[in-house]
Structures are given as C-alpha cells and as structure tokens.
Subunit: 392 residues, 2 copies
C-alpha cells in the first residue's frame, strides 16, 4: 500500500476496527459483559468507516472531492469488499486481498481450508504431509502412559508438562494451529507476520519431516525440530508454550466474539483429503462453546443473508486477490464474476502476499498481481472523474 500510494499520489488511512487496539467503546469494560459487546459487528465497523470517510473529507483540505478506495487483507479484505457492496457511494472500488467472503454457511466445503494447508506441506518436501498425518497416532500412542506423557513433554520442550488426555488434545490443537499458521505465512522471504520466520518456512520445516519409516519417538523428535522453526527461529525461546501460537496480538478476543456471533466459518477435516485427525463440523458444540465463553449464540445464516453469499453479481469494482498457497483462498473469490468483479490468483502467494511491501524475492506472479490491481484502481479513479465531469 505504501508503494502504490506513492504512485497514485494517495493518502493512506488505516482505520482501527472498533473493539480492537485502542478503539474500545466501553474502555476496559468493553469485553466484560455481552451487553457491551452488542456493538461489535461487521456492519457497525462498516458504518464507522463511512462516518470516518465523511469526516476526513470534511476536515482535510483538498480531500472533499477525491475518490476513495477501500483496501484490506483477510477479515480486512472482507470488510473492504463488503464496504464497496454496502457503501458504493463512499468508495470507487475495493481491493479485497485474501478475503474468504464465502467461508460461511455451506458456500464452500468445510474441508477446503485444511485441504489447502495439507497441499502446501505435500508440495514442500517429500513425505512431509504424510509425516504430519502419522504424527497424530504417534502422539496418541505415546500419551497412553504416564512415562510417555513425560517423554513427550520433554521431547517437545514444552514449558508446562502434559498431565492428561485433555492436555494432549490441546497439544494436538496447538500443533495443528502451527501448521495452519505456517501455511498462511509461507512467504518467499524472511518475514515476521505471526512469528519471525525464514523464507519459504514450510520447506524448512519439511526438511525435518521427510522420513516415512521412523519410530513414534523419532517422528516426534522431528516434529519438535519442525515446530522449533516456527516458535524459535530467533533462538530466544527456552521452551514451547502451547497456549500461544502467535507473537503479535491480532485481537484474538474481538475475533473470538465475532466468530461467536456473525462470523461463523465452518471447518472440518477427514484425514483423507487432509493430514489432520478427522473432525466433523459440529455447530451445536460450537454454539455451546460460544454460550459458555460469551453468553451468546452464533447466527450462522446472517453473513450470507446480509452480504449476499455467492449472489453478488450486481455489485461492481471489487478485485478479489488470493494466493494459491493460502488456505483462506478456499473461501475466497478465485474466478471473475463480472467485468468489474475480478479475481486475481497468485500461484506462489500465501496470505495477502500482494499487500506486503515490495521485496527482491517477490515471485513474478505477485508482481503481476500488484500491477493488475493498480491498473484496476486507476480505472476506477478514471471512471470516477469521468462521471464527475458528466454531472457538471
């Protein structure tokens, strides 16, 4: 965005989403009671952006008649797309990078996400996804005895030793989360989005996961080496903490509440199309967990009702970009819908690689994507000025 802003002589505005960062409508109480959380919705966030744009146009000299473009990645990409859909009078277009706007209801199969994660590992080294696939059974077998639990805790350098089967379930969830995060940030150069990582981190991880015929203990020792790449690339960690998967705070509280109200994304695995233990999508369990944590129950049909699901062809001027390595691309728009609702896919791209700063190691496909994106933006701006001229 910094690179492109210069080219387009644009002002950049980063709007903080309500309930994230410092934008807490009820201060420190904002997350204390579901009454205070009622105002945390995507629609309210979009309304904030609308009011903000009006305010900026009114108060910043020269801004009044300038065209505005919405940009965002991930949830921010969904918001960008939805903003153009709901407030087309406010923005001439939107770039929705890695925005899984269709990962709701039954718009895409619930297994698509984990299938792409698996594919990333399969392609990144021989036997890599198979090794991970086998690791779950190995953990289960080792965890059957007290000494096995002890050995596992030591071998994985866990900060807190495993005590029971619940801890083991938690461990498996944490390891799965790690592979998922690696798939999201499988960037072609050293980076620090969720964790400091080497270039093409899955390739690095997979170097430890290439031997298909090992004992359970040997396999788990290799799994540790792989995890250690993700959690200890900087060499600072003395042990691995299974209650954390990311260093930076992406507002997990806010998202957890949103996932328990509007943003219900069904996930599942079957262990055949993916390398994970089979787990079906269980909405009732999901809803019960939400009720326990937040005192609310999710409304799984709402997002498709309000934002149109797959039926969005009457809108215009949205570029949906997706990296094919990115598991979120499974819920994204990866084919053109109309001439002005356009999909750009980046074969070597992970999660919103296109939004990252220029880098010498950028694959040509992301350079091409960025230049296409800018071309669309310039077209929206030209169309805006053309329609302004017609009015006067």
């Amino acid at each position: 965005m910094w690179d492109v802003a210069e080219e387009l002589k644009a002002m950049l505005v980063f709007a903080e989403h309500r309930y994230y960062g410092e934008s807490l409508p009820f201060g420190n109480n904002s997350f204390k009671d579901s009454r205070y959380l009622n105002y945390l919705t995507s629609e309210q966030a979009l309304a904030d952006f609308a009011v903000l744009i009006k305010y900026l146009k009114r108060t910043i000299p020269g801004a009044k008649n300038q065209p505005v473009i919405a940009l965002g990645g991930s949830y921010g990409g969904m918001l960008a797309a939805w903003f153009r859909m709901k407030y087309p009078h406010m923005v001439v277009g939107a770039l929705a990078a890695s925005a899984p706007i269709w990962h709701f209801g039954n718009l895409v199969p619930c297994g698509v996400f984990m299938k792409i994660v698996t594919e990333d590992f399969r392609k990144s080294g021989p036997n890599c996804s198979e090794t991970i696939h086998d690791s779950w059974g190995a953990i289960t077998r080792l965890a059957r005895t007290g000494s096995g639990l002890h050995w596992l805790s030591e071998a994985l350098h866990l900060c807190t030793p495993l005590r029971n089967s619940q801890d083991v379930q938690h461990l498996k969830g944490w390891i799965s989360e790690t592979w998922i995060n690696l798939a999201m940030v499988d960037y072609p150069y050293e980076s620090n989005f969720l964790q400091p990582l080497p270039a093409w981190p899955i390739k690095v991880v997979c170097k430890y996961l290439n031997n298909p015929s090992l004992s359970d203990a040997q396999l788990l020792q290799n799994i540790f080496q792989a995890l250690n790449i993700y959690y200890n690339y900087s060499g600072q960690a003395r042990c691995l903490n299974i209650s954390e998967t990311t260093t930076s705070n992406l507002g997990t509280q806010g998202w957890s509440y949103q996932a328990c109200t509007e943003m219900v994304m069904p996930f599942c695995t079957n262990g055949i199309d993916d390398m994970f233990e089979p787990r079906s999508w269980n909405f009732r369990e999901y809803s019960d967990d939400c009720f326990k944590q937040w005192g609310v129950r999710p409304r799984p049909a709402w997002i498709t009702t309000v934002y149109g699901g797959r039926n969005i062809s009457s809108h215009s001027n949205i570029v949906f970009s997706n990296g094919e390595l990115d598991p979120w691309s499974g819920g994204g728009v990866t084919k053109d819908i109309t001439d002005t609702l356009v999909a750009i896919t980046i074969p070597e791209g992970a999660h919103h690689l296109d939004l990252r700063a220029r880098n010498a190691f950028d694959p040509t496909t992301v350079l091409l994507a960025r230049s296409l994106e800018v071309r669309h933006m310039k077209q929206w701006i030209r169309d805006f000025y053309a329609s302004q001229r017609k009015k006067h």
Copy 2:
C-alpha cells in the same frame, strides 16, 4: 399491487414493519423506554425483510427460486429503494412510489414540500391559496381578545374551546396539517386514505375559499366550511378535534421516534413561496423536542451517509414514481439517474396514486405510469431468469 400480482402470477407479501401494528419486540413496553426503542431503525427493518424473504423461500413450496420485487409507497417506498440498494441479492428490483429519499440533510430546499402544497391549492380554485395565506393573520387578530377566542372556537366548531395563545398556535398547526393532508390525498375519486373524502377534495375545499375580500370573521367561517369537508365528509362529526388529523392509525408513535433518530426531514416555510406563516428550519429546537419526548437526539447526517444521498448511480433496477400533486415529490427522484434507475412522474397524481387499485376515474397519466412500472418489473424478471440460465 393486487391488479399487477395477477398479471405477473406473483405472490403478495405485506411485511409489517417492526414497532408498527402488532410487531412489537418488547410487547406493551416497546415504547416505554428508549432502551427498548434502540431496535427501531430503518436498517433493522430492512434486515427483517431480508430474513423474512429467506424464510418464505425456504418454507413455501415453489418459492425458492422465484424472483422477488420490493414495492412500497412513502416511507415504504424509501424502504423498497433502500432494500434494493442494500440487498440487491434478495430482490431483482424495487418500485419506490412517492419515496422522498432526498428529503434529508440539505439535498433539497427545506421549503419545497410546502411550496407544492401551496401550488396544489393555487391550481384548484381562484384565490384559494391566497385565502389560506390570509387566514393566519385573521386568526391572529381574532385571537387577541377573550371574546375573539370564544368566537373562533364556536365558528370552527372546536370540541375544546381555545383558551390561550398556545392553543391558537396548536390550532394553526392543525389547520396547516389539514391542508398538507389534503395535498397528499388529492385523488381523482372518492377515497378514504387518511379521511373519507370526495373526488379531487382540494377543488371542493377551494369552493369555499374563493373570495379575496372578506372580513376576518367571514374568512374564518369559510375556513370552517373547508375544514369540514376534510373532517366531516361523512357528516358524522359533531365538532372538530384539533388533536387529530387522521382517522386511521398510521403508527404515529413509531414514526415520531424514527423522526427523532434517523429520519430527520427538514421543513420550512417563508410565506412568500408558500401560503403558510414563515417558519425556518430550527434543528436545535427539533433536537430539544426529541430529547424531551424520547430522551434521544437525532442524527441528521446518518441517512445520507448510509443510503448515499444523491450519489446512488451505482445501484440498479429501481423505479421511483412520483405524483406531481404530491408534496413529497419535492424530496423524491423525479429524473432518470441511469437506464435502470428510472423516474416516472404522474402529473395528476397525489401521494402514491399509482399503488392504489384500478379506478374508472384514474387519469391516463397514472395508467401510463402503471404500465411502465409493470414493463420494468417484467424486464427485471426476464434479466433474472437470463442470468439464472447462464449460471447452469
């Protein structure tokens, strides 16, 4: 709608707006506290319609893949237009009859409404608008003494005698409201929308208001005759009640709250372009009254922020119809915006005449308007099926 539904083999659904009629989310408490009124907004109403349509499609055999059209008049017309703007995936188009979507902010002059009311009286009989213009001074002069107040109360057959200048102000407001209502329902045949009335009621009223040179007392006696047409066409009323202007309950409580939150429509008069006493638009006073009545303050910029104001050209498939006699047409869309955002004007039409049932006295201009409206609806339906075929 009944006539057209038959032609289009359509199902008609009348959705009751929340907080109106029996749709009271908090039962009898719904209007007791502003806490319970938080959910009374146009956005929530649109969301209700979206959820309702999904429900009907899911539960009514054969409805699932049918195209839906939104229709409405007045506020209902605004909702129809806004629904197509915000939920274009739900309805193939909208007929917004007499929908003053631009009577907000400074999109139209605040005097336009009363100017049209005046024009209706001016055209309906010689000296008619002048007589009304002069009546306010006559009332003021007569009201200066106790005996004058008494005389006025008798001459106008008021149910409750006037006691002070506040009552006189109230009387003037009530009379103004009567002329406004007459302008809205100036239909070409006997009707009973706000009150039972003769055909072209303003013409009938103006027969009593055609003499420019009368004493104050004579003038007011004629004003009584005119008012009596509106309030006593059926001959049942024994006196005139200045706390009522309509017989049917159009949900004045709900609208009063909405007018005090989102639906802020500026009105003003200057006594030159209109036949009323001059009164400027005073937002502060308006806001204070709202605070007194509902404990809330209005957000006058919100409707244009959320629904786009005049900047709506990126939407499609909306017909805005307006009768030129209708004072609300001043805030309506009366010129085509694009090929698919179309204005239809009905020179002899009052408030959403086109939505009323066929009548032998319908002017040809409303027949033409209705046939154009149906033509657009058929086009939307054809386009819908064409795009369905393309998908499969």
